[in-house]
């Protein structure tokens, strides 16, 4: 619970609320009025709040904290009005089953309060005019550049003041906050990009912790994007972070990608990779993609109209590989390999933003951490690639509005009644449906055979796999394959 109080905080009474028998840990934080600031003697403080918003925001912070640190219960009260030295300005009590959770949750509450609770404090000094804390009268010329935080980066001639200013107004989307997304987001935040959007609908699991370096044991079970956002904000408060606890799918791809300066693909499966790629190419947004298998990784920068696209390489045999590499969730992976590749993704994204992308959009880089080698392979556009060579008049996907690559909603044209096919994944048990036939998602031969006989419409659980497979089959020249974007 959260409260504002214009009366002194009775710490003992609040503390008495922390008495749950299932809590093995309780942490109390008291923020107090100190008698000095910036070398000057402070006599007293005045706190002013925008009450209606402050209460709502405080309750949201408490709710988010309890979600982010499963098992925690948070009580918080913030003072308003005149406070003397030594008085409690904010009181936060957390109880949780374990100490990691209690400490982390307590820390999160105070950091979030300081970031967004509409409360202001005026310091009264001895022998000087009172001042509102944190509130400058005039703005520095360019805070992004003047800030010493970025000094070593600004000192690079390849970045400099102009590059730092570009970074400070840039927007980057990171899809997948896992082994790749964590280090990528960490270095992008450190670099001082303007706005970072994080997309992932997963939760932190114990098996993630060894390589997904934004998370600790305290966040186990929490939505990944919330845990990541909390860490990243603490690392560089100047970066605006938007955590979106959603899956990247055919239904939201265009909205998420539009307006970004660069997209980082940190997903772990081919279906999502094609979808992200196609959305980026459709909208002309540079994409930095990496993939890791065991000790090896590949890195690609895709820019529309430069170098080969993803379909140039995978058309024809993609779906088989797609299933073979469908997910590394249960697979073996060398943690430093995702770390290195994720950091390289951040580096390529920064270079794209400051205009130092070089030849990256024409190359695939291979990194092997087992034998310590790296290799650059030229990646030219393949003449006759069905995706690259398509025009707006003959889009790759039915329903594509402005691009040979992407369809927002793959609806069959009037007069076509495709056979509905439900893609079944290994081990998936679904109730039989009499208006659809079931085909294993990896059975490319069967799908080709059905497509040759007449128009088919692919469906799957979240629309990612169906649209990826439809793209691949259409890229092979099977023009009557459609995908359904939403849930079956």
């Amino acid at each position: 619970m959260f409260a504002l109080s214009d009366q002194p905080i009775d710490a003992a009474a609040w503390r008495a609320k922390l008495a749950s028998p299932d809590a093995g840990a309780s942490v109390v934080f008291e923020g107090r009025v100190r008698n000095h600031h910036g070398g000057r003697a402070v006599l007293r403080l005045e706190y002013e709040a925008f009450g209606e918003l402050a209460v709502r925001e405080g309750e949201d912070i408490v709710t988010e904290t309890e979600k982010l640190y499963p098992g925690s219960r948070v009580h918080c009260v913030h003072r308003t009005g005149r406070l003397e030295v030594g008085e409690i300005a904010v009181w936060i009590g957390v109880e949780a089953p374990h100490r990691q959770t209690a400490y982390a949750a307590s820390r999160h509450v105070i950091e979030e309060l300081k970031r967004s609770l509409p409360v202001w404090k005026k310091e009264h000094f001895e022998g000087a005019d009172p001042e509102w804390v944190n509130c400058p009268a005039e703005q520095a010329d360019s805070p992004a550049v003047a800030d010493e935080f970025h000094a070593r980066q600004v000192a690079l001639p390849e970045i400099g003041v102009a590059g730092q200013e570009k970074l400070a107004i840039s927007r980057v989307l990171v899809v997948g906050i896992g082994g790749l997304g964590c280090p990528a987001a960490l270095y992008l935040t450190g670099a001082g990009i303007g706005h970072l959007t994080l997309v992932d609908d997963g939760h932190v699991e114990r098996s993630n912790l060894a390589r997904q370096i934004l998370f600790t044991e305290a966040e186990t079970g929490a939505p990944k994007v919330l845990a990541a956002a909390a860490r990243l904000r603490r690392r560089n408060p100047a970066v605006q972070i938007t955590p979106l606890d959603v899956a990247f799918g055919a239904g939201n791809a265009r909205t998420l990608v539009a307006g970004q300066d660069v997209v980082i693909d940190g997903t772990d499966n081919f279906a999502a990779r094609f979808l992200i790629h196609d959305a980026c190419m459709a909208l002309g947004v540079p994409l930095v993609q990496a993939a890791v298998h065991r000790f090896e990784g590949t890195l690609d920068v895709f820019r529309r109209g430069e170098g080969g696209c993803l379909h140039c390489h995978w058309s024809g045999h993609g779906a088989v590989d797609l299933e073979a590499t469908a997910s590394c969730e249960a697979g073996a992976v060398f943690a430093p390999a995702v770390g290195v590749l994720g950091v390289m993704q951040a580096a390529e994204a920064i270079k794209q933003i400051v205009g130092r992308g070089g030849e990256a959009a024409h190359q695939t880089r291979l990194i092997d951490l087992l034998d310590g080698t790296s290799q650059i392979i030229e990646r030219p556009a393949r003449p006759g690639c069905p995706a690259c060579s398509r025009t707006e008049a003959a889009p790759l996907m039915i329903g594509a509005d402005d691009s040979p690559y992407f369809a927002g909603s793959a609806i069959a044209p009037a007069g076509v009644s495709p056979l509905a096919i439900r893609l079944i994944q290994e081990g998936e048990l679904l109730a039989p449906a009499n208006d659809m036939i079931d085909v294993p998602a990896h059975d490319l031969a069967r799908l080709r055979e059905l497509a040759a006989a007449g128009p088919i419409m692919l469906r799957c659980r979240n629309g990612v796999r169906s649209s990826a497979l439809a793209r691949l089959l259409r890229a092979e020249g099977l023009d009557n394959v459609y995908a359904w974007e939403s849930v079956v």
Partner: protein, 87 residues
């Protein structure tokens, strides 16, 4: 975004902390053509001498955080939020 000229609407404004002192009042009814908080803040900087830089201001519309580009409608309550300092 509409390109038609913005029409005047009546807004409720509240001011806190430094902005309250600069505005010289804690609340204000204002007839304005400003279509967004960004435009409204610029207007207030001109007309009421607000000095807190635009770059550090956030805004709440009807007691919820909003963006500086949120379209404003007649009757909205707009609060500009100078840098906060809780805790």
């Amino acid at each position: 975004m509409s390109t038609s000229p913005p029409s005047a609407h009546r807004l409720h404004l509240q001011f806190f902390a430094r902005l309250r002192e600069e505005a010289g009042c804690s609340a204000l009814e204002l007839e304005t053509c400003a279509p967004t908080p960004a435009a409204l803040y610029e207007e207030l900087q001109r007309t009421r001498g607000l000095r807190v830089p635009r770059g550090v201001i956030r805004v709440a519309v009807n007691a919820r955080y909003a963006t500086m580009e949120t379209p404003l409608r007649g009757g909205d309550t707009v609060v500009f939020i100078p840098p906060v300092a809780g805790g």
